[in-house]
Symmetry: C3
Subunit: 335 residues, 3 copies
């Protein structure tokens, strides 16, 4: 692809030889002839030329004597260039003879089903879905158009997935939630789960994550939500549109998370808490109450970031504080 | 099912028209004609009538002009009603022709084995077991009667499961534990694990959880234990009967946990600690020593809840304490 | 096997009857005639004789009237004895007729492929590899000689594994990392990942762990690295040789970890931090900055262990400190 063609496809201005041939996207470290790289910060622009790449995406203010595409957000434009230069596999509508699709299931046009995958009774799979090998899709499941289901995923009966949703390897969607009640003898009685999981459009769920079905009604993952790997979402949770959850985070039952929330890794949520739109929660925090106001929260229990910084400073000064208190107790006579 | 029949099946008293038709269990939010709901707290009883449900399970003291079943523990009775009105799939004894069962394995009557599941040499599967698709059961494995094994579960060689045990999707039962010893050059030498996992009756293990085999002897999960999703149980652990472990908790090797212990989410256990019967451990705690006395523990390191509350209050007052100490240091002259 | 033969195979001295028959390795608790046990600490040597075992591995200084092999590190020698007396399954070169191997894939001699496993186009599997059932190996994957791939593992396209590497059940190797960038409307734009995962020789990865592919270039797991269960390794991480990572630890993107590092369970790493060779990080720590000096670190945020101990002591004395400060504020008149 020529530089001018790529710039045009990206809707961006360029400088330098329009005929420059671009064949792949690279990091500066692995750039070679044909490579496109990106430079987020204008002070590194000079390095672009030394990298061996054929062109770079750079901020608009960079003056550069090198084939370059100008962008306000080089990383975003680079991500788009990756999608153009390294297109994802297209589905071909091939159903492997080694897959098992129940005769009552409906599978849309253009959908691929890999070997040893199963689609249960009465399930409906949309168009151009890519179901890799070894995925287990239960009964009465709905999968929207253009989804990707990676190997060893399990989708339990009755789950509903929107369009363009990606489920990475090993995820368990729709397993029973964790609701047991002890009887008098201490035996735990199970609360059978008859709800479902409903996942929106444009969702991506990372490898080995779990989204439990609702006890009754629905566990809801909104449109555009992104969950990282090894995330646990409990029964009856609701996660708002475009919320992002980093790895190893655990969300207990009936938590309501707003839209555009950003949640770090290894965060824990107590059951039934409510999180407002736009909240940011730092990694490893423990959320044990509602977070009703937009802002950054941190700590266990989670408090506003400014407060956490002061607490954290006080903790690191704790040993010194003990000495100061001891000195004060000795009194002025000790001076 | 009629109200009178359901009440009788539940062994409870009822009020209102005995002929009231009940078809499903619902939440108040999604209740419709035919729905049974439950009201845990008598102050919400009036809402039951507005929900559109046909009947409710309510506490005994509620005076209600509405078809209702009386129960001391409405949620427990409702859970039983769910089991009656929404019965689980029964096995039919069907072994899918696409499953692989080693000729030396023994499979009990009434057991279902789904497509692309494997049962290795010399394994013994009980009666009325439901093995979903894509499950991998190794050699010399024992699975008791009435178990349910969900898709993409792996049960390593030699593992033993009791009766009525449920293993959710993606679990790894019997993988090698984590025991390596550095040699002089720093290379980690593996301690080959020759023990097994023994899981009791009526256990439920959540999706993508792991229970490692013992180095020697057995890792033991007692009867009635319930593990949530993404729980890690290390080699040679012993978990007592009816203990409950919430999601994302990690239990290092050789931990001994008593009976009827309740463990929150994201708790961590140091290896070789011992936890007494009936202990409760709050979410996100770090247990680095024995907890020998019944009680609630919290924090990192975990301490009795009362102590944690005081510590936690002192932490949140830490910034203020620093100021007070500084003021004291200035002395009375500063007044 | 006779005691003298075993001692010879282990390259160690022995005492007692050289003809003593050894049939298995046991714990002292389960020892029986034919058992070999080990005694790490000489003060427990007397117990060896009471255990019912036929022989023991003991420290060199132990005077014992019992068949015994002498070793400076009894546990290491015992681990070697386990490998001798309980040899791992050998591969036989059997490819199950129910496996799917793409015609363009190359599979080495002596390699076993279990039922319902898949090997994608252009992948190269080495010699004497043991691929259990239900594993999904993508396209253009390289697996070195003598690897073991357990059931329900997913290896994404393009991943590279060295020799003698073991991947436990349910792992996801090469899933997309977690890199999304919000557009003006708040929608998260995906950064398509075109890098790969490169895993060295003699690596072991525990059950249900995840190693994400690089955005560009490579996520690198060095030789001899050992990851426990449920570990998350983000895109573009580099983990040095012989580093050990305990369960449930989460490593965000682009973290560089040195060689011979020891990382406890449930540790969290901020993205882009660098950890020096030989560092030790205690369980549950949160690493939010570089750890450039060899030593033991602990806490959230992680600080040197000595400092953490002092901080931790100050925290536990926090409630008392509050009282002391209040007393000081009342002044000497209060005495």
């Amino acid at each position: 692809m020529k530089l001018c063609e790529l710039a045009s496809a990206l809707g961006k201005q360029f400088v330098g030889n329009p005929e420059t041939e671009i064949t792949c996207c690279s990091s500066p470290q692995s750039a070679k002839s044909g490579s496109l790289i990106f430079v987020e910060n204008s002070k590194y622009a000079a390095d672009a030329q030394k990298s061996g790449a054929s062109a770079a995406i750079v901020p608009p203010d960079v003056e550069i004597d090198f084939p370059a595409i100008k962008s306000e957000r080089p990383s975003v434009t680079f991500a788009q260039a990756v999608s153009i230069l390294h297109p994802q596999k297209k589905t071909s509508g091939g159903r492997d003879s080694r897959a098992f699709v129940d005769p009552s299931a409906k599978v849309g046009e253009g959908t691929d089903i890999g070997p040893f995958s199963t689609v249960g009774a009465n399930s409906r799979i949309g168009k151009n879905v890519l179901i890799h090998s070894n995925a287990a899709i239960g009964e009465n499941v709905t999968v929207g158009d253009d989804c990707v289901i990676y190997p060893n995923v399990t989708i339990y009966d009755g789950s509903i997935l929107g369009a363009r949703t990606v489920i990475h390897a090993g995820c368990a969607i729709g397993a029973d939630g964790f609701k047991f009640m002890p009887d008098k003898s201490g035996r735990q009685i199970k609360f059978q789960h008859i709800g479902i999981v409903r996942i929106g459009d444009d969702v991506e769920i990372g490898a080995n994550s779990c989204v439990d079905r609702a006890v009754l009604d629905e566990t809801i993952i909104g449109n555009g939500v992104k969950l990282d790997n090894l995330v646990q979402v409990g029964h009856n949770c609701e996660i708002g549109d475009n919320t992002v959850v980093a790895g190893c985070t655990g969300i207990a039952g009936s938590v309501k998370i707003g839209k555009n929330v950003i949640i770090g890794g290894q965060v824990g949520f107590k059951d039934h808490v409510t999180i407002a739109d736009g909240v940011v929660i730092a990694a490893k925090s423990g959320v044990i109450g509602d977070l009703g106001t937009r802002g950054i929260y941190c700590g266990m229990p989670a408090v506003p970031l400014g407060e956490w910084r002061k607490q954290s400073a006080a903790i690191s000064r704790g040993p010194e504080t003990l000495k100061r208190v001891a000195r004060l107790e000795k009194g002025p006579r000790a001076d």
